[in-house]
Structure formats: C-alpha cells, structure tokens
Amino acid sequence: MNLGNFSMDTITLAGSLESKLDAAASAGFTQITLWAKDLVGHPDGYDAALNEVRLSGLRVNAIQVMRDYEGLSGPLHRYKIETVKTMLKLCEAVGAERLLICSSTSPHASGDIEHIAADLRKVAMLATPLGLRVGFEALSWGRHVNDFALSWEIVQLADRANLGVCIDSFHVLANCSLNGTNFDVLSTIPGERIAFVQLSDFMWKAVRTPEERIETARHLRVFPGEGVHSAELSRMIRMIDRSGYRGDWSFEVFNDDYVQMPSAVVAMRARESAMWVAAQSERRSLPRTINRGMHA
C-alpha cells in the first residue's frame, strides 16, 4: 500500500477546481474523487472543467454522487434513469472509473430489496458499455438501506460484476456508535465485491441522535488518524485489506474548518493521513518521511 492507492475528495478543499487539483497533485496524490458539481458548476463551463482535470494528470477514481436513485416506480423511476444516464456520461467524459450511488432517503422509495437490486442491476448494465463500475453506499440515514450489511446483501442479490459495495467508514462508525453494534460483517465481503472505500473519522465517541449523525457527517469529519476512532478504523482497514481489496482509498472528509484553510495545508494533512492508513495495513510500503514538494 502506498500513496498511489489514496486520493483526496474535492469536497474537503476550498477554492476552484483547478486549485483543488493542484493541491492534491502537489501533495503527491495521483488520483482524485470528484463531485459532478465540480464539473457542471465550473465558472468557465463543463468543457473547461474536463480540460482542467485532463491537464492535472490526476486519475479520477469516482464521481459523487447519485442520490435517491433506487426503489422508485413510474415517472419517478424514469426520471431517475435519465438522471443516472447523464451521470454515467459525465463519468465517461471525465474518464472516471466509477459512479457512486448512495442509498435513497426518498419517502417515495420502496424498501423491497428485490426492487432495489433490480434497479442496481439496471444501472450496472448501463455502465457496462461505458467501461464503468458502480459503487452502492449505505447512507447511515438512508430510508431503507442504512447499513453496509444490507447494501452488501442487495449487491449480492443484484449479482453484477461491475457493481460492488462502497464502504464509507463514517457511516459504519456512526452506526456502530448510535446502535451499539459492530462491523464484523465487513470481514465477510470479498475484496473484489468492494467497489470503493471512503475513509474519514470524527471527534467524539457518542453519536446520540440521527440528527447529530447527519450534522457530523456533513460538517465535522476529520482525516483518519485525526479522530477518536483510530483503533476501530485501524481494524476496519485491516479487515478490508485482508478481504483482498486492491482498489482505491479515498478520503471523503466533509469539514467546515478544512474549507477555511489553504488547500495546500489540508492536502498535506491528507498525505499524513495516507501514511497513517498505510501504517495500519499489513502490506505497508509507504515511507514514513514526507517528501514535500514532489509535484511542485
């Protein structure tokens, strides 16, 4: 495991797309997780955004995020299919490797897992000719799918080679904290069925309410190694590593303080965090010393 296995997520950084890409590359990262809005909201337009990403030389490991996709019917389903097709085309245009879908929070969505699996099978089919993968992530406040174990059950039911679970450590840890559960089921997921791993931590042990969980998720995540769940995260990383997962590890860190700091500072914290994560792995090969300015 080395720095090439890790990426930043643009959600963590302040500033323009170009400055975020620069900051990540300058800290030594070779890949990035983008949000669709990074591209479509670019002040110089979509094509300019695509060009900036191309020029950065960074590999785009995933596009965030398709919301409220699964479990719908009739016109709502058709509307969401058209939306997800647009998102897949966006992935193709920017050279992203996968589209991330988070579990629905919609009150209109069915909780029937057969229905959800069929919808995921459909997006996986749409992704196939484009050469894309799809990651399905259980939001801990998802309406029906709010736990990674259920997202894994549904991914197995859908049974498509380019569909896997996306593991977000925040949701796993927050669920365990709120519900008093553990994440041992994680060890049962084969590495090739994990589509993507997003890592972050937070700063308190007790999550008392679902509202507090959402608030923390959106504003107060920190990089792995900076929070209070390092022991749990370390165990989680080793479990995923032992599963045979050899994909990317992205830091999805929503943090109101980080977006008030210079991007270069935050990117270096991300680099320190990558070293911390690699140190938890039994396949560690990242050097302990930081080689600053390697992409300056």
Partner: protein
C-alpha cells in the same frame, strides 16, 4: 410459447440477420467480400450503403460519411459497426433491453426509410433487432435491388455466420457475460470448448444455438499495443474446412500461416480487404 422456452430465449432470437461494416473504401472491401463469395445485391436508396449477400448471409457495407468517416484508427479499414439479431418481435426485444438497462441508439431515418430498433453494444457499435426476415425483407424498404443481382447465390461450401469476436479490456469478461446473458439470454460455454484455430477467451452461445460470441481480453504484452474494446472479427462456419479453403484459394484468398495460426481441418484465418475473417469447422447448418 411455454415459459421455459421464453425464459431461455426471451427475445426469440433466431440467428444473425446481417453484420454491418463501415469503411471509406467500399470498393476494395466489396471486392474482398466478392472473393469470399458474396455479391452486391442492393444499394441504399439515399445513402452510400451496399448490401452483399451469400446464401443466407447479409453483409452491409456502409460508406456513408457520417458513419464511415469517423474511424478512430484513422484509416479507411473496415470496422465492424453492428450486427442485427433476428428476433420474434423487434419492438418487444427493444423494450426488453431498454428496461434492463441497454442504451437506446438514436435512429438515423430518412423519409420513407425503415426504423430498425437497436441498442448500443461495445464501443460505438450497435445491436439491431429485425423481425421481418421470413415473409418480408427489411431491405425491400430502404434498398433498391441492383439490376445485376442474382437472388440465388448460394454461399461457397455452405458458408454461414458462425460467430463474432469481440475484444474487451482486461478483467472485463464477467461484465460482458452479464451484458449478453441479461439482455439476450446468451450462455457461457465451458472453458476449454473452442472452435476454429484461435482458441482463446470466452465463448458465449446464442439462445437459438445458431451462432457464438467470443470475448477476448488483451494478451499479456498488450500494454504496448493499441488494444480497444470493439467488435473485431466475423467468423464463418463450414462443414468442410479443407474444401472451403481450396475453393477460396482458387478465388485468390490467401490464409494466414504464422507461429500461432495454421490452416487446419478445424479452421483458417485470412486477412482480406483491410480486416480479418475466420473460418471455423461448424456443426451449424447454413440458414435460409
């Protein structure tokens, strides 16, 4: 139709109606097809497209600038652009595939031209659905018969469509198997069961048992090659390969002999008209 048959062959697939090549050099490619026993039988009413036929096989040679002019390879070499499946009902087949997550293609239909429904396949290729292949012909609408055309042009040595080879990216076999299984009802043949002289990749059998698809991942040294996902080759079947090779040799076709490919009773390969064709000893009969 009982349920089990419907499940095994949900679209009522009944073989390949045609394959389509795009090329900016239609004359030289047409001449190559003629060496293989095809003859030009009809010309499209509004676009530069010619229909070639041999026995029950139809090959469309599309030189329309909008289609043939955007070759990624930057040459006029023919590219396999599409294949059309004979199905029970084209509209139903199309809806079935769209409901399961296939991408619809944007039809390019001119006035009084037939809209053939299709979905996106690998790369920029299309898989069409044709249901008018028995009493009526799709070609009667869009094509004008050439005066010299001879309807009775049997294929040489019973040559027939045997399969299509599709090159795919590394580790994508399972994804493409899912694609063909889910949409069309193809099934995977056991590893090790191959036909012809290029035994590699994964073979899928059509639900009608009339043709095969071969999925081929890049060879190990492909990092330095310009490998891309596409339909790469048509395979023709014949019961007697030596007799077919002899007949084609007499027509000026030469066959590849290399360290890895040899003409044998099992099959042969030729490079002709800017592309390769494979010939396979076949247990399948010539259709129609």
């Amino acid at each position: 139709m009982n349920k089990s048959v419907s499940t095994l062959n949900p679209l009522g697939i009944d073989g390949i109606e045609y394959v389509e090549y795009a090329t900016t050099e239609p004359q030289s490619f047409g001449a190559a097809l003629e060496r293989l026993g095809f003859i030009a039988v009809a010309r499209h009413r509004s676009r530069e497209i010619v229909l070639y036929r041999a026995g029950g096989m139809n090959i469309i040679v599309n030189a329309d600038p909008d289609v043939a002019g955007n070759s990624d390879e930057g040459s006029g070499a023919p590219r396999l652009k599409a294949f059309a499946l004979r199905v029970r009902d084209a509209a139903t087949a199309y809806t079935h595939c769209i409901d399961k997550g296939a991408w619809p293609i944007t039809p390019r239909v001119g006035a009084m031209e037939l809209n053939i429904p299709g979905v996106s396949g690998v790369g920029d290729t299309v898989i069409y659905f044709v249901d008018r292949y028995q009493e009526f012909s799709i070609y009667d609408v869009d094509f004008k018969k050439l005066p010299s055309a001879n309807d009775a042009n049997p294929s040489i040595q019973g040559m027939h469509f045997f399969g299509i080879v599709q090159s795919i990216d590394e580790s994508r076999t399972k994804e493409w198997i899912d694609f063909y299984e889910e949409l069309f009802g193809f099934s995977v043949l056991p590893q090790g069961q191959y036909f012809g002289v290029l035994p590699k990749g994964t073979l899928l059998e059509s639900p009608c048992h009339k043709f095969y698809l071969q999925l081929v991942e890049p060879p190990e040294q492909a990092a330095v090659l310009a490998w891309q996902e596409k339909l790469s080759r048509v395979g023709f079947g014949a019961a007697d390969i030596p007799a077919l090779v002899k007949a084609l040799t007499a027509r000026g076709v030469t066959f590849i002999e290399s360290d890895s490919v040899h003409t044998s009773d099992r099959g042969a390969v030729t490079y002709l008209g800017g592309t390769s064709f494979e010939f396979v000893k076949s247990h399948l009969g010539a259709s129609r």
